[in-house]
């Protein structure tokens, strides 16, 4: 029983596991422009990300393989984030002392650009507030899933994976 | 056994886990006999909800594997149908 990976017991990837199983882009690449990072460690029969990537940056040996992103080839267009059935793709972009996290948001309400939203970490704990930088609404999203880019403190770039929109 | 303690297995006839296990303890382990004595799977759902549970209870109590326990026959009609509909026209008042 012990060989069950921690993320399958807990239901979420720790940052350490993200590094071990997925591998992170270099800081230099993270500074250039947004880059797609797949939090998809499990072999499941699913290929839409590889099929939609305009620069073939997402490699899959066979339909059950885990997606491997060639961070250099990735142009940060966020189509993979929009199409992913598992809502498991995110984009990260370091800008100054902030990080911009692009995440799928299939919850109402969808925030507006400039709105301040509550940042949630991988287990849904509130870890601060962040400003919404861009929003791809449902109609424009290739996967019918709204995409939100939110600004977070640099040190939370690898923790914030969801947001909560709170309006009085 | 307080009223509250009952675990319902067959919802159509309110047959509990305790009643099934008691019968098995008396040596009655054939699903066809258990089904008829306790009236399991004889209600409107015809055993859809309860028979799989009964099979696993018998398997657990007797050590038999579920494969060895034959699923009781499925009889027509496989959905409840008003008798008048089967005759033809309900001929409402």
């Amino acid at each position: 029983m012990s060989e069950i990976p921690r993320y399958l017991r807990e239901g979420y990837l720790s940052v350490e596991e993200l590094k071990r199983y997925i591998g992170l882009p270099s800081e230099e690449r993270l500074r250039q422009r947004p880059v797609a990072v797949p939090e998809c460690p499990q072999e499941i029969p699913c290929t839409p990300c590889a099929e939609i990537c305009p620069t073939n940056a997402i490699l899959m040996e066979h339909p059950n393989a885990t997606p491997k992103v060639d961070y250099e080839k990735c142009i940060g267009c966020s189509l993979c984030v929009q199409i992913c059935p598992g809502l498991a793709f995110f984009m990260i972009h370091y800008v100054g002392d902030k990080a911009r996290v692009t995440l799928p948001h299939e919850i109402l309400p969808v925030p507006n650009v400039g709105e301040e939203v509550v940042l949630l970490n991988r287990v849904g704990e509130e870890v601060g507030k962040g400003k919404v930088v861009t929003v791809v609404p449902r109609e424009k999203s290739r996967g019918d899933t709204p995409i939100v880019t939110v600004e977070v403190p640099l040190e939370l770039a690898w923790d914030v994976r969801a947001i909560k929109v709170v309006r009085e | 056994m307080s009223e509250e303690k009952k675990i319902i297995i067959c919802r159509c006839n309110d047959v509990t886990l305790e009643e099934i296990e008691a019968l098995i303890d008396q040596g009655i382990t054939d699903i066809e006999t258990i089904k008829r004595l306790l009236r399991i799977g004889m209600g409107p759902c015809q055993g859809r909800t309860c028979l799989p549970m009964v099979i696993s209870i018998i398997a657990r109590k007797t050590g038999k594997s579920p494969e060895e326990i034959k699923l009781p026959a499925t009889r027509t009609p496989v959905r409840p149908v008003p008798a008048g509909v089967l005759v033809g026209e309900m001929n409402e008042e």
Partner: protein, 477 residues
């Protein structure tokens, strides 16, 4: 309480004209297109009957007409399945507190020969497998008729708001409800005659052909004659034994999806989900989307059963997943008010003192599905108990033909798997049924082989291993 706004769904097409039904004499608002049980639930009515022997309160459980928990007296007629019977203006609904008396009448019914529909292939079940079978059989040249006992086509698809996995040509990245619409369009393009609200009650050999006896709207007998039949009757939520498991408020996960995603009715306020397989995880996310609080998901196994990505989706919304936990009992007067869970040790025994109480009004059972094989079993098809495929399934060949020549099976009724595989099996069964009916040319065999290859590929990953083990026990050459 009806949902009005939803991130994915809009409920206008369900809520047609507003009507009034009467529950124990009290007027209740409802919409044409809703079923009785859904309208009652929206009005806050959870207890639909008291059981005939021990007068225990009972409410919705499966919501797809397969169990017996929603039986009520409608317009004087006892034991009507209110979860699949559409509302009509002025309907009188009464709870059954004991075994019903026969209504008063003096007029016997009239003998009438039922309507008879002739076709090459009769498809029973209009979910993903059934629709694909009908589309492909008709494409291959067969006259096809399709019947489904629900008021709408799509089976489970119409409740699946998430996007599908698999490859692009298998609708990957498309939402389940959208796939249902696409398939329905395809059906319309080919003149496949569709009979909704029609339950198949018998499947018989009739000389060289098959006879499917159907009942429409619980009012009218219809005989469907076909050279071959495809049974795609899907699956049903498994029930597990725990104290209070028959209380109103304990639902199969599918029932909650029906309430919430098909009819836009809020299931409740606080939910405990039992089972962290794909169904339980997806349901948790869907509940959050509908604004319903999910207190926790409990899973007896030491790990997540479904796809990890579905788990991560809900963890980052703050929904805890308690592995190595199970439900001990549901408590409440007349309906669920609390759920008591406890931790399990390695050999599945409850660890004393680890009991936890959740204040919930809904308990969703997502502990696995069981193939619905009644028609196949009744028709004499050989069956076998295969745990990897969800329970008793029929023996069949690689073209989905059962041990009774001319009877084919596809989708969850052949073995619990994904909608993607259900559609591929539907395609295979539909074409094979057309071939067996002698109306399709042999070059359609290529299409079958293509679908078989796609199935093998889909099942080649770790998640497919269990299914492949199961299939070895039931697929004969």
């Amino acid at each position: 309480m009806r949902l009005t706004e939803h991130p994915i769904l809009n409920f206008e097409k369900i809520r047609k004209r507003e009507v009034t039904i009467y529950f124990e004499g009290q007027p209740i608002k409802a919409y044409e297109g809703e079923t009785i049980a859904m309208a009652l639930h929206a009005a806050g009515i959870r207890t639909l009957q008291h059981s005939i022997n021990k007068h225990r309160p009972r409410g919705l459980f499966c919501a797809i007409g397969k169990c017996s928990s929603c039986l009520m007296k409608v317009n004087g007629i006892p034991n009507v399945r209110t979860c699949i019977t559409l509302v009509e203006d002025g309907m009188q609904i009464e709870r059954q507190e004991e075994k019903p008396a026969l209504p008063k009448t003096t007029k016997p019914p009239k003998w009438k020969e039922p309507q008879r529909i002739e076709a090459d292939v009769v498809v029973i079940g209009g979910g993903p497998a059934g629709m694909m079978a009908a589309i492909n059989a008709s494409e291959a040249g067969a006259r096809v008729v399709l019947l489904d006992e629900n008021p709408m086509l799509g089976g489970q698809l119409v409740k699946q708001t998430h996007k599908f996995f698999g490859k692009r040509e298998q609708f990957a990245g498309v939402r389940g409800i959208k796939i249902a619409e696409i398939l329905q369009e395809e059906l319309k393009k080919r003149n496949v005659e569709v009979f909704l609200e029609t339950s198949a009650i018998m499947l018989l050999q009739d000389g060289e052909e098959k006879l499917v006896v159907g009942v429409r709207k619980n009012k009218e007998l219809i005989e469907f004659k076909g050279k071959t039949v495809v049974v795609a009757t899907g699956a049903m939520e498994r029930m597990i034994p725990f104290e209070g498991n028959d209380l109103p408020g304990v639902y199969g996960a599918g029932a909650i999806q029906t309430l919430m995603n098909t009819y836009g009715v809020k299931p409740g306020d606080r939910v405990l989900i039992v089972g962290a397989g794909n169904v339980g995880l997806i349901l948790a996310y869907q509940l959050y989307q509908a604004g319903v609080k999910v207190e926790a998901i409990v899973e007896a196994m030491p790990k997540i059963g479904g796809y990890f990505v579905h788990a991560a989706k809900v963890r980052r919304l703050g929904i805890p997943i308690l592995t190595r936990h199970t439900i001990l009992r549901a408590e409440g007067k007349e309906k669920v008010e609390r759920a008591v869970v406890a931790q399990l040790d390695e050999n599945w025994n409850v660890i004393p003192g680890t009991e936890k109480v959740f204040e919930v009004d809904v308990i969703a059972l997502a502990v696995g599905l069981r193939p619905s094989i009644e028609l196949l079993h009744q028709a004499g098809c050989q069956i076998k108990y295969v745990p990897e495929l969800g329970g008793h399934v029929v023996i069949r060949d690689s073209r989905m033909e059962t041990t009774i020549k001319g009877i084919f099976v596809a989708g969850d009724s052949a073995g619990i798997e994904e909608a993607t595989t259900a559609m591929l099996e539907g395609k295979i069964a539909g074409i094979a049924a057309a071939l067996s009916a002698g109306v399709a040319s042999p070059e359609w065999l290529k299409e079958i082989e293509k679908a078989q290859k796609e199935l093998d590929e889909f099942r080649s990953g770790p998640f497919g291993r269990k299914v492949l083990e199961g299939l070895k026990k039931v697929v004969i050459q």
